[in-house]
């Protein structure tokens, strides 16, 4: 009997260890994986919802705040070049279309996890104008090492003059 109880406890411990590893791997609470379809479906991002391609980029919200919507996918970030004003809190909303990716804004201590089926939301403020590279920081496949986005932080007054009323990016057109 004691042996059986000991075995059960050991199995529970192994289970918890597995769950906590999973938690560590994606930096998200375990219960995100038991929700059952709360987030956007990674394979139909382009058909409906907030991640359709015409809605990607920096959007001004009615309250005056700024939201940047992005998709991470093998092996590019979309939009690949994002432009934001300096000194303003910016909300990033990002999801993945396939594997787990991670953005790290080189030169800052900001980072973001992009997980399929989950929208990661994080608010950052970039104090000074400048350019940052955004390499993918989580191994995502054969082209991982060349997966890199760009972030341009411009002065506030300059940002206002960029294509008002549209989703702003700095993609070449």
């Amino acid at each position: 009997m004691k042996k059986k109880i000991g075995f059960a406890v050991a199995m529970v411990l192994v289970g918890l260890a597995l769950l906590s590893t999973r938690y560590y791997m994606v930096d998200l609470p375990v219960w995100h994986f038991f929700g059952g379809g709360k987030g956007p479906d990674p394979v139909t991002l382009h058909l409906q919802g907030e991640f359709v391609e015409s809605n990607l980029g920096a959007a001004e919200e009615p309250a005056g705040s700024l939201t940047v919507r992005m998709i991470a996918q093998q092996f590019v970030f979309v939009p690949q070049c994002i432009v934001v004003p300096a000194g303003v809190p910016i909300t990033f909303r990002i999801t993945s279309a396939d594997a787990v990716h991670k953005l790290s804004f080189l030169g800052t201590n900001y980072g973001l996890e992009a997980v399929p089926g989950v929208v990661t939301e994080e608010t950052f403020t970039f104090a000074k104008a400048g350019e940052f590279k955004i390499p993918c920081h989580e191994f995502c496949g054969a082209g991982h090492y060349a997966m890199r986005g760009h972030l341009k932080v411009v002065p506030r007054d300059q940002f206002a003059s960029l294509l008002p009323g549209e989703r702003r990016t700095c993609e070449p057109r």
Binding site: V43, V76, A97, G143
Partner: protein, 257 residues
């Protein structure tokens, strides 16, 4: 008994006008709210690149393709794309060994007008989703080995062999500084991504034209702006180099399939 049921019927009948009025009021309220919400936000118009998504249903339709039926249907394609799936004109794509998913998706996009082509849009209208799956199964089976008997334009020598090193760099390593992933990480043979066609036996002139269309937005049916993001960053010389390198049959993956 009959009296009672009549009474019930009458009572329900008497409630109808009131119910209708309430429903009408709710409808008016809802429609009013919708229109005011649309006025407040100046949302950009929604653009959908392609109606195809790699859902389970789509993958099932494609996997049920019948190659023998495809063989019979392919008579309509042979004139331009060749008896063996290799076209005699460099501007037309080769279909031998084509990836089933990407073939099916392009046919659907031609049909829905998401990808424009004066020739292919008319032809694709004649093929149902099942026909496209059958054709995809057939072309995926065709061998890509060279055949001197066949009238094909496929291996075309490069116009400037000095561009080969530039092409190899992009195909094998990409460009990490600009964020251009290597071609072979999605188009094979290193790894494949759903909807990315193999390029090892594709015509160079066709590839160059498509890269040009992706970069200037004439072709915009790639899911989640993937290929457009990459093509926009390539210089004109790089597009030529990569296309001609694949078109010369030097691209990786010729013998691996």
């Amino acid at each position: 008994m009959s009296h009672a049921s009549q009474g019930v019927r009458l009572r329900i009948g008497a409630r109808w006008p009131g119910t209708l009025l309430v429903l009408l009021a709710i409808t008016l309220l809802l429609s009013g709210r919708d229109s005011s919400a649309q006025k407040e936000n100046s949302e950009p118009p929604v653009r959908i690149p392609s109606d195809v998504a790699w859902t389970e249903e789509t993958l099932t339709i494609i996997s049920r393709g019948d190659a023998f039926r495809g063989l019979l249907l392919a008579r309509r394609c042979n004139h331009c794309h060749g008896e063996e799936g290799f076209s005699s004109v460099p501007g037309f794509p080769n279909l031998a060994g084509e990836d089933r998913l990407s073939f099916w998706k392009q046919m659907q996009d031609f049909r829905s007008g998401k990808r424009t082509s004066p020739v292919m849009q008319g032809i694709a209208e004649g093929f149902s989703a099942r026909d496209a799956a059958d054709l995809a199964a057939y072309y995926a089976m065709l061998p890509t080995a060279s055949d001197p008997q066949d009238n094909r334009s496929f291996p075309q020598s490069m116009s400037d062999s000095a561009r080969a090193s530039m092409a190899i760099r992009l195909i094998v390593f990409g460009d990490g500084q600009r964020g251009i992933p290597p071609c072979q990480s999605c188009h094979g043979p290193v790894s494949y991504v759903k909807g990315a066609p193999p390029l090892a036996t594709q015509n160079g002139a066709y590839l160059e034209e498509q890269l040009e269309h992706f970069s200037n937005g004439d072709r915009a049916n790639d899911i989640n702006v993937r290929m457009r993001s990459i093509a926009r960053q390539l210089t004109a010389e790089e597009k030529t180099a990569v296309s001609e390198y694949y078109g010369a049959g030097h691209g990786p993956g010729v013998n691996s399939r």
